[in-house]
Symmetry: C2
Subunit: 514 residues, 2 copies
């Protein structure tokens, strides 16, 4: 049997001459018993027709509930036999892309999903540009309006396409980074990007959907995941919730490979986190490598065991048009394992032969010949691109090392599970990532792909009331580590810029494969 969610069937005690307690207070009593709490708020909207409703329903009802930090809230009371579904929408409020899922919160069934580009991109591609814009006259209102309008449109579409009514949506849960969460709420966000980097709010409490102009049931509410600071947002708290890190006995790790690599390590007793926005060495990040996945994009590269040539796979098997991030990691691994790049990450003229050419003093490796490419141009990897990838993989490894070893005092081998979250993370081949020294050399089965963990966590909350307290506890218990880019860090980083590392004994599995 499913655990109990936000919709409960209840029985209210019948009134009598010996118990003339008001309807609302008898209802409160039933809910207190059902929910094992003292604190329930019954809004005016629900009170209005309570007496006639309860009597026509023989004092039985379906209660639609949610929580805020201090109490449960009775959002609506439906007839015990009503077949109206009770719906929720989970939203991953990404800077670039927004993904929404429509869920029946009573059955837990996921009814449909929709992704679309964050319309705030017309203002600016990144957080920085948007926040700067929000300082202008009606900038904040405009940015807020853009995202809310798009969400409303997509709620309508999700409902229409799946045969539901938006009036049946009572809960909206949203997870995003701190800036996106602020813009979604329409609250001032400019202090986020200036020293000392202070958000307006860490814990946005449950809000009336109407106050955010979200077009759902008029009693509906919105909950946005709390953040720990400007650089550790609700999307990551949502990810931790989704991964169950906070319930594990043994230490696990979750890395969300987005613009920055954000990492959380811990178990049910402790959680340590850091975000990799730590100075110029780490800028860019792995997610900016390569192009966006679409038909014709090379997403896998491997060494032909016989010819030692590099084979490629493209999305939908189309003629190649370019290479995406996961393809680049495969490529770098193949280049290194086949000796085409050396341990410093430099192309070897000797091994590459005529696959290498030089232009304006920069070397290019031809992965796909111009005759085989869809564009008529060869698909190449330059030494500059490779250097950038080298920096990124070194940064990732260094941050992992800092947090797991230096901070948590563990060895990589102590990790029971290594979760890779984020769309980009879903496609990385861990064997390749290990081969280039980006991920630690632990058993491949340790790695688990989480997918969109920000959306995942938001969906968990729609289905599980206990998640609310877990979220607050996760937020409270995470120790956030500012990455200190000091000499020690730079030394570690320098070692990690080698392939796989200056200390190759850390990557024993590579021995037989080079």
């Amino acid at each position: 049997m499913r655990h109990k969610g936000f919709v409960r069937t209840i029985k209210v005690e019948n009134p009598s001459l010996t118990d003339n307690t008001a309807d609302a207070q008898r209802l409160e009593k039933s809910l207190q018993q059902e929910l094992n709490t003292k604190h329930i708020r019954i809004p005016l909207q629900v009170l209005k027709k309570l007496p006639s409703n309860l009597r026509s329903w023989d004092f039985k009802a379906r209660a639609v509930l949610f929580k805020d930090r201090y109490s449960w809230i009775l959002l609506d009371l439906l007839g015990p036999l009503s077949d109206r579904p009770v719906l929720g929408v989970a939203i991953d409020i990404g800077t670039t892309r927004i993904v929404m899922s429509l869920v029946n919160i009573e059955t837990g069934q996921e009814l449909g999903e929709k992704g679309f580009d964050n319309p705030q991109a017309v203002i600016g591609p990144d957080v920085l540009a948007r926040i700067h814009y929000s300082k202008e006259n009606s900038g904040l209102k405009e940015l807020n309006h853009l995202v809310i309008e798009a969400v409303n449109l997509n709620i309508s579409a999700l409902c229409k396409e799946n045969g539901y009514q938006k009036q049946d949506i009572y809960l909206v849960t949203g997870a995003g980074n701190t800036a996106m969460t602020h813009l979604f709420l329409g609250i001032e966000s400019f202090e986020i990007i200036k020293e000392p980097y202070i958000p307006c709010v860490n814990i946005p409490d449950t809000q009336a959907a109407g106050d955010l102009k979200l077009e759902v049931n008029k009693n509906g509410v919105v909950f946005l995941f709390p953040n720990i600071g400007s650089y550790f947002g609700g999307d990551l708290i949502s990810g931790v919730l989704y991964s169950d890190l906070d319930r594990e006995e043994d230490p696990c790790l979750m890395v969300d490979v987005g613009t920055n690599a954000e990492i959380v390590v811990g178990n049910k007793d402790w959680l340590v986190a850091c975000a990799g926005a730590a100075g110029p060495a780490l800028e860019g990040g792995v997610s900016k490598m390569g192009m966006t996945a679409k038909p014709g994009v090379i997403d896998q590269v491997w060494i032909d065991p016989d010819s030692h040539a590099l084979n490629v796979h493209t999305i939908e098997g189309k003629k190649p048009v370019g290479i995406c991030g996961s393809g680049m990691i495969d490529l770098a691994a193949s280049l290194f394992l086949s000796g085409r790049i050396d341990i410093r990450g430099k192309f070897s003229k000797k091994v590459c032969g005529d696959q290498l050419f030089e232009k304006d003093g920069i070397r290019y490796f031809i992965l796909v010949d111009k005759h085989d490419s869809a564009t008529g141009e060869p698909i190449c990897l330059s030494q500059v691109d490779l250097n950038s990838l080298t920096s990124s993989k070194a940064a990732m490894y260094t941050i992992l090392e800092v947090i797991v070893k230096n901070t948590a005092g563990l060895e990589f081998e102590d990790l029971k599970t290594f979760y890779v979250a984020g769309t980009f993370g879903s496609f990385i081949n861990p064997v390749s990532a290990i081969s280039i020294g980006m991920l630690p050399d632990i058993p491949v089965e340790t790695f688990k792909v989480l997918g969109n963990s920000s959306l995942g966590g938001a969906k968990v909350l729609l289905k599980d009331p206990d998640a609310f307290e877990r979220i607050m506890k996760i937020r409270q218990s995470i120790t956030y580590i500012e990455l200190n880019v000091n000499q020690e860090f730079m030394n570690m980083f320098s070692g990690a810029k080698f392939y796989p590392h200056t200390d190759s004994s850390r990557f024993p599995s590579l021995k037989d494969r080079i």
Copy 2:
């Protein structure tokens, strides 16, 4: 120094690189310390400009607060130097008359008061008629609209006349009987008047003023006093709060003489209450006696010590037009003390002489000759009127006896203070009321006039945050006694219908005056 109210001047800790807690959470921390609580809700409206506000105010602010059952609510944050007043409106939501008071909740100053007839009277004069009407199509909406519109009009007028802005009103506290409270909230009330007499709600929680369509500050809230049941409303809880009964060491009594006589006896440890709506014998009630006070109405009657004639005093000294309730009690006392009526409350032909005439078998006592009256008609008291007064005074005494003696197990002499609340109660001369056996024969200085205690309690709440918990505690701790009109009660009632009582030893102070 005044105790601390709902407006507090606070300092929020400045942010720093070593403490990057969000503005809202640092604000929360300041408020938690200031209010000695963990539970504070900060609405979206206050969050919106929080960062720029706090910075422009050097992290100082005036916080406007209120409470609900589970937390404090930050209604607004004003600049530390802002000279905007923070106002509240207390309302006595009477069935017949509504009285409102405009209060500066920061200084406690009362700025103006306004009374007006409850506009729901066009629908029906009493609770019963209105509730019946509320069952019709849009009846409830109409009744609700009538009262809210009138309150809005009078809020505007109160502000205008006293030089204030309604946008500065943050709190509205209202106390009324259970039915009036329901109609004010616009919630179904018809179960109140039918067995088993169940209100929709006992404890209406703090509501957004906008949800009730009250035109005050957009962040404003409304609190309506809770009730104990259909027959014991928020007006009485408000009265207990106002009288401080719940803080007394020694037992005190409060009687609110309205349509029914509602009585509360107790002290800080216990409270017992009953409402005198107990069958036909008690119907009508003292407040229905006589006419409404206006110029020319006889409000005092006394025996001329020399001539033993009855002297009258009229309001504003105008020629008499009729007699009001307090005048009738004086009159009855004078008639009894001068022997014009006997101990059964019947006119004595012998003593009254030609002041008595008979018409259609009913005796009339001429109080004012037609030549002295403003109407050209004599002003009379009929035996029928007198019988009705006799029933009422007997009912009052019997109820007092039941609750003080039979229920609380006290003697009248144990009462430290006997509060008389309600407009009507303000004018009763306790000596006269004792003389006819309506009030017990205890020292006159024991009686204290409370005035409009329903309005008084609502004003207390505007000024004193602790009142919120007191209200909940009063509601919780009152034992409500259903008056059981059994044989014993009827026997007591029969005795009390004599003047002053069959057991005249209960009224020793009368001995020398008859």
